[in-house]
Structure formats: structure tokens, C-alpha cells
Amino acid sequence: MRKIIRMVVVLTLITGLSGMTLAYVDKFTAKPIEDTKIKLVKAPAVQEVFEGLGADNDPIADRKKVVVGKDSHNRDISIFAFPAKKGGQVIAVALETIVTGYNPGLGVMTAIGTAGKDKGKIIRIGITSNAETPGKGSRASEPGFKGQFSGRPTGEAISPTGIDALSGATVTSRAVVEAINEAVKIFKANQDKLMS
């Protein structure tokens, strides 16, 4: 009996200590990990969707956090919005939304115009992460598919039947549309904050 108690106590202590250490390390590395991912994963996509706009600011440095909902622990879920500015005025905003296509983790960066001829239109979209079926859904990253969203008005949601879907990848095509509509919705709900 004493032996069993000793085993339970020792193992509990070891796992408890290890859990505490890991929680601390996780807290300590959360910020650097976020910064690294923004620099190496998001920055190229933001640059791509803002190409040719002539923005004179650094959208990454000027990023803003917007709250998009609550998780099961009632904590805020937030995403980053990247504004493009010209002469101090916000000319476009890019938001990344992540949806589930055929596999989870389909990230779409949507750039929405807020001034000039692009006002109220989608400027361009970019795919930030794509784990869809190779050769089918993976083709969402190709210009032929994502190019068709450029210039669409954001006035009403895009209908999944109103686009040229990727053949053999209906689910992925619908997921991309869903991601864009979600981005537009978040943009509209936070417009005041993002335009300042």
C-alpha cells in the first residue's frame, strides 16, 4: 500500500511540476511566437493584397486588433486588421479570416478598399494557409481563382453560386467565399475603429 501511495505522489508531483513549467514557458513565448508568425506568414500576404496601391505606411506596424467573438471560456477571440494608408488617410484594410474547407485552417486575406475608386470594393484576396486536397482545393491559391474576387462590391454578401468555382473543389470554393463574407462582415462591424 505504501508503495502505491509513493508511486502516485511522485508521479503526480512530476507531472504537476512539468505542467507548471510548461504553462510559464508558454506564457513567456506567446508574444515572440505571434510576432514571428506575423512577420514571416502574414506580412507577405498583406504585401501581396496591397500591391500597387501606393500605400506609404507599414501595414504590419499599424495593425489593429479587432474582437470577433468569444470562445468557450468567455475570453475574447481577436484577429488582426492591417490598414494601408496614403497621406494619413486609410485607403484599404486587409483582414485575415480562417475557415474550414475540406480541411481546417484555410486562411484568406481579404483587402477591402475604403477610399477612391476602390471604395466599397474588394481589392484583392490572398491565401495565407492552405491545407486543401493537393491538385484540387489547393488550386485556390492560383491567380485564376482568387483573381475573380477583385473589384466585387462589398454591399452584399457574395453568393457561393455566383462565382466560378474550382472544378472538383466545391467545398473549398464555398469556404473561400465564406471567408471573404466573414471578413467583410467584421470590417463593417468595426469600421469606425479601423478607419481612424
Binding site: M7, V25, D26, P32
Partner: protein
């Protein structure tokens, strides 16, 4: 002191992990597509090996014999998660190219092997020296194997182009090439060892 030095240096040749002990072959085959990947994997493994050896050696007297393997695995897994988080924060491209093989360090037989065969029976200093020596030996072995595959397979070394107008043998970078490269290395090492022995 001489004993500690001996524990440290045995990992370089006498017990060189992938070639002499022939342990930890899964990452050896999988990640040595380039010298940089090999070195990165080696450093990550060394860190886990040294830390887990020290902790296992420190707590060896309180661990009941029946739950020792479970305890070792918890210690090792904790250090692997720490390594994973650190790599995500400070070496993201390397983290991405090593992928699944970082979490898989947990089940690398070298680490559990050293904990069970060495650190659970010896003092802290010996165990740290053992872990560091074996880890450095493993790193060198992976880097050399990675370099050979990278030079022949893509004509580069650490990402720098070595020679122009060279048609690389891509086969060596691909998975079957790993077996060929590892097999050839093993043959060479065994040949040298056999000659050493016969001379003695």
C-alpha cells in the same frame, strides 16, 4: 575529472549515436535533407538530452522503480515542448522545415536510452557530460550526413551554391537516398573501426 571527460568524449566516436549505437535512426533518415536541417535537429536533440539527463539524474533516488519510465517520459516530453515553443518563437523557418520531427524527439530512443541506461544510475555531472557528448556526436553525425546529401543532391552546402553547371543527383535528397547515404556512412565507419581493431 578524467572520468567526466571520458563520459563526455565517448559520444564522439566510441558511442557515436547513429553509427555506433545505431539508435535514433528515424530522424536521422528523415531530416538530413540538408546540412542546416541536420544541425538544427542535432542541436534540438542535444538540448533535450542534456536537460533530461540532468533532471533524471537529480530525481533518480525519489522515483520508484515501477514508474520510472513514465517519469522519464514526462521529463523528456516537457523539454521537447519547451524546445518546440522556443523554436517557433526564434527559429520559425527551421521549425517549419523540421515539422513533425520536433515533437517526435520525445520518442527518440537515444534520449530515453541515456536516461534509462546512464542518468538513472549516475551523478549529475557525469550525466550532463554524457548527454552533452552524445548530443554533440549526434549533431555532428546528422550535419555530416545532411551535408553529404545536400552537396550531391542539390549542389549546395548550408544553402550556398557550391558549383555551377553541376547536375545534382536529386535522388539523394529524396527518402530512398537517405537509406543509401546512411548505409554508405555505416559501411565506412565500420571499415575504419575494423582497421582500428586489427591494428590493436
Amino acid at each position: 575529472m578524467a572520468k567526466v571527460v571520458k563520459e563526455f568524449t565517448k559520444g564522439f566516436w566510441e558511442q557515436l549515436p547513429p553509427f555506433k549505437l545505431v539508435l535514433g535512426l528515424c530522424p536521422t533518415l528523415a531530416v538530413t535533407t540538408s546540412a542546416e536541417n541536420g544541425a538544427g535537429m542535432g542541436v534540438a536533440t542535444t538540448f533535450v538530452l542534456v536537460c533530461s539527463n540532468i533532471i533524471v539524474s537529480l530525481i533518480r533516488k525519489v522515483i520508484p522503480n515501477e514508474v520510472r519510465i513514465a517519469s522519464f517520459i514526462v521529463v523528456i516530453a516537457s523539454f521537447v515542448v519547451i524546445t518546440e515553443l522556443m523554436m517557433q518563437a526564434y527559429a520559425y523557418p527551421l521549425y517549419q522545415s523540421l515539422g513533425i520531427f520536433i515533437p517526435l524527439i520525445v520518442v527518440n530512443c537515444i534520449i530515453l536510452g541515456r536516461a534509462e541506461a546512464f542518468a538513472s544510475k549516475r551523478g549529475v555531472l557525469d550525466s550532463a557530460a554524457d548527454g552533452l557528448g552524445i548530443g554533440i556526436g549526434y549533431t555532428i553525425a546528422l550535419t555530416v550526413l545532411g551535408a553529404i546529401r545536400e552537396i550531391i543532391g542539390s549542389g549546395k552546402i548550408f544553402g550556398h551554391v557550391l558549383f555551377g553547371g553541376f547536375m545534382p543527383l536529386r535522388f539523394l535528397i529524396e527518402p530512398p537516398g537517405a537509406f543509401v547515404a546512411l548505409g554508405s556512412m555505416l559501411a565506412i565507419i565500420n571499415f575504419i573501426s575494423a582497421r582500428q581493431k586489427s591494428r590493436r
